[in-house]
């Protein structure tokens, strides 16, 4: 069984952690979930095979010399792929002359002017070219056929189908495949015992598969939406600035399920090295289209038809040009794939190198024991020397983590709010405004929490020192506490020894951890919050103290398995007037009693 983004995936024939076989519902959920991957893989592979099939058929077509009659680019103003390369050519086959204008079997219309321009540059009027003629129907011909790319696409399709569809399909089959089911309770327990630890490999495969999908998609988008645009922006700083004229300035509209999206299309022409070129690239931000048209209309107003401006041209390839070579707000979309890539890589890493799931390690914090097949216990651990305790959560890391989260949240929500209200310009919808308002309110709360954590960072810190790192049951250690810096700020210190059970389990798709305190002893201060004279006196506050930390005998030692834990800790709270009161927790290791009695 493995967990992906909070969803546990349990294979039908596998056991859950209680040793029971998966239910029919579990198998059905597994089948439905994985079927989506199978269907997607088959769909995409069918498209690839279909296109490759047509291209492979063309390998039998016959080459003929041809003369280019004319070439140019037609503009279909009603289309969202308005640029259509047009190359007219003549050729002779079987003694008959033919005229045709088919460039490829696929639709040559494109929204990228540079792609269309490539045809006119490669096939100038009056030039010679090679065309490919269908021997069964000589009037059918093309200028370009797919060769290696089509075979490569077949190979890609096979690989894609195998991985993306084949593995989930195999898992579905394995889920429902009848097995020698043990008829008796004894047989079932025997089966569970034999499989003890063996389902780890299945969980790793599932985790890597799902993580891989997110990682590939996320990294792919990251390259396309973030890295490539940034790279091109950097390279374009060396390009030549040349005068250009705007020939076309349109706002293209795309209908979608969630409403229309828009893209600007500004076609401009320029002269370079004695030749006229055209381009419709506005900037290097790689997004197809997005909602919000008012901002885009504003850009179009700046670049109206006939407007003379400057563009930037690649001197090594004059067909490569751009109007805005710097970063624009649209580049912020480059942040979008980061969470996908991060989640995918995290799931892969956790599946491969995550905690030992067999539960063999029950000793808290024992890194060296985590890979051992048999748990061990070294009595000598309790004899370690004095140690300064580290809190469970660092105040600085807690603040940095909250600050980062608040910045990301407010950055994303703030940007969306900015564009929403900018494009709305007095004409806005109530529901989206309320929705965005709630998210913005949460963002403000996060900022408040971050500020509080910042203040806590600068609150006095109680330093704890123990005479030994781990204490056995029935044993004791010297506890020294002190407040470095400006102790006068602290009016009261409370230190408690706490023992706590912690149990983690699944509730639906959520992972829940319940805790139950089974032992509390106040070492410093008082339970009811009242002042303790020896730690608080008029005009002076104690800034240090020594205590004996005694662990009771008839209780449970520290225990840490994957889902169940017995935790011991020191909880320290300081009262700081006119300041957020800091509260820190310091983990303790309580060992089983040494053989022979307490020490």
């Amino acid at each position: 069984m493995t967990s992906v983004m909070g969803i546990k995936i349990q294979l039908g024939s596998r056991r859950n952690t209680s040793g029971k076989p998966a239910s029919i519902l579990g198998k059905l959920m597994t089948t439905v979930f994985l079927s989506a991957f199978v269907a997607a893989g088959v769909f995409f592979s069918t498209m690839v095979f279909d296109n490759a099939g047509k291209a492979i058929d063309q390998q039998a077509w016959v080459e003929h010399p041809a003369t280019i009659v004319s070439s140019g680019i037609d503009i279909d103003a009603s289309s969202n792929e308005p640029y259509i390369p047009r190359v007219e050519y003549t050729y002779t086959h079987g003694g008959s002359d033919y005229t045709n204008s088919t460039t490829t079997t696929s639709n040559p219309a494109t929204r990228n002017y540079r792609e269309a321009q490539a045809y006119t540059l490669d096939y100038p009027p009056g030039g010679q070219a090679t065309v490919y003629v269908n021997p069964d129907q000589p009037s059918e011909s093309v200028l370009k056929i797919e060769t290696i790319a089509s075979l490569g696409s077949v190979a890609f399709g096979v690989l894609f189908l195998s991985l993306f569809s084949g593995i989930p399909l195999a898992i579905i089959i394995g889920t429902w495949w009848p097995r020698n089911r043990a008829k008796s309770q004894q047989g079932k327990r025997a089966h569970a015992a034999r499989n003890r630890g063996k389902d780890k490999l299945g969980g790793i495969v599932i985790g890597v598969l799902f993580g891989g999908v997110f990682a590939v998609a996320g990294v792919g988008m990251l390259i396309f939406m973030t890295i490539l645009p940034l790279w091109r922006t950097a390279i374009a700083q060396t390009w030549n600035q040349v005068p250009c004229v705007v020939e076309r300035s349109e706002l293209l509209r795309f209908e979608g399920d969630d409403g229309p999206t828009y893209r600007i299309d500004i076609l401009y022409t320029y002269d370079f090295a004695g030749q006229t070129y055209g381009s419709n690239r506005y900037s290097f931000a790689s997004i197809g289209s997005s909602s919000g048209h008012k901002g885009k209309q504003k850009v179009l107003n700046q670049y109206s038809v006939g407007h003379q401006t400057a563009c930037y041209v690649d001197p090594g390839d004059p067909t490569n040009a751009v109007l805005e070579r710097g970063l624009t707000l649209a580049n912020l979309w480059g942040l979008f794939p980061i969470p996908f890539a991060a989640i995918g890589l995290f799931v892969i890493y956790f599946s491969l190198f995550g905690k030992d799931k067999t539960g063999n390690n029950w000793k808290p914090g024992g890194e060296k024991q985590k890979r051992q097949a048999v748990s061990e216990y070294a009595i000598g651990d309790s004899e370690d020397g004095p140690v300064t305790l580290d809190p469970t959560a660092s105040r600085r890391k807690s603040f940095i983590g909250m600050l980062f989260f608040a910045l990301v949240w407010n950055g994303i929500v703030g940007t969306i709010n900015f564009f929403f209200w900018k494009d709305a310009a007095g004409d806005w919808d109530l529901m989206p405004a309320i929705f965005l308002g709630i998210f913005q309110l949460i963002g403000l709360i996060l900022i408040g929490v971050a500020i509080r954590k910042l203040l806590v960072m600068f609150a006095p810190h109680v330093v704890l020192e123990l005479s030994r790192q781990a204490i056995p049951l029935g044993g004791s250690a010297d506890l020294r506490w002190r407040i470095p810096g400006t102790p006068g700020r602290v009016t009261k210190v409370t230190i408690k020894l706490i023992g706590e059970e912690s149990a983690t389990y699944k509730r639906g798709t959520d992972t829940v951890t319940d805790t139950e305190t089974f032992y509390v002893q106040v070492l410093v201060g008082s339970e009811d919050g009242g002042s303790v004279p020896e730690y608080r006196s008029p005009g002076r506050v104690m800034d240090s103290g020594d205590e004996i930390l005694a662990i009771p005998l008839e209780t449970m030692h520290s225990f840490e398995a994957e889902h169940n834990k017995i935790l011991w800790k020191l909880e320290v709270k300081a009262d700081v007037p006119r300041w957020p009161d800091p509260k820190d927790t310091y983990p303790l290791t309580v060992l089983p009693m040494p053989i022979g009695g307490a020490s």
Binding site: R189, R194, G359, S375, L473, E501, F518, M556, F559, N564
Partner: protein, 119 residues
């Protein structure tokens, strides 16, 4: 039907830490098995998902259909058997025959008093 039984040498099945855990496994199988494995295991139960730790194991290969073997596991220092509001930890000896349905288990406790620690 295959039968397996585990008999611990200690009748009260209450061990103190460090005390060796010894006993015998008897089996009467209805099909040939390649091996019989005996494991010393702690496991949790209660509110949290089950955790299991295999501390030690012994294996006998090419065993006859009926037989008996003694096992001798070194004493363990922990975790203690205990029962709390959320978590329970217990110990058991598990014997399983492969292949087939032969299985047996015998629970016992480990703690300084021999009895389960209650918190």
């Amino acid at each position: 039907m295959a039968t397996m039984t585990i008999q611990l040498d200690r009748e009260d099945r209450a061990y103190v830490p460090g005390e060796p855990i010894t006993g015998r496994v008897q089996w009467d199988l209805d099909q040939g098995s390649e091996r019989v494995t005996v494991r010393l295991i702690w496991q949790t139960s209660g509110k949290g998902n089950r955790d299991t730790g295999v501390v030690n194991e012994t294996q006998w290969d090419r065993v006859p259909l009926s037989g008996e073997r003694a096992f001798d596991f070194p004493g363990v220092e922990g975790p203690y058997s205990f029962s709390g509001k959320l978590i329970t930890v217990g110990w058991l000896i598990e014997a399983v025959a492969e292949p087939g349905e032969g299985y047996a288990e015998q629970s016992f406790s480990v703690s300084p008093t021999g009895s389960e620690v209650a918190i």
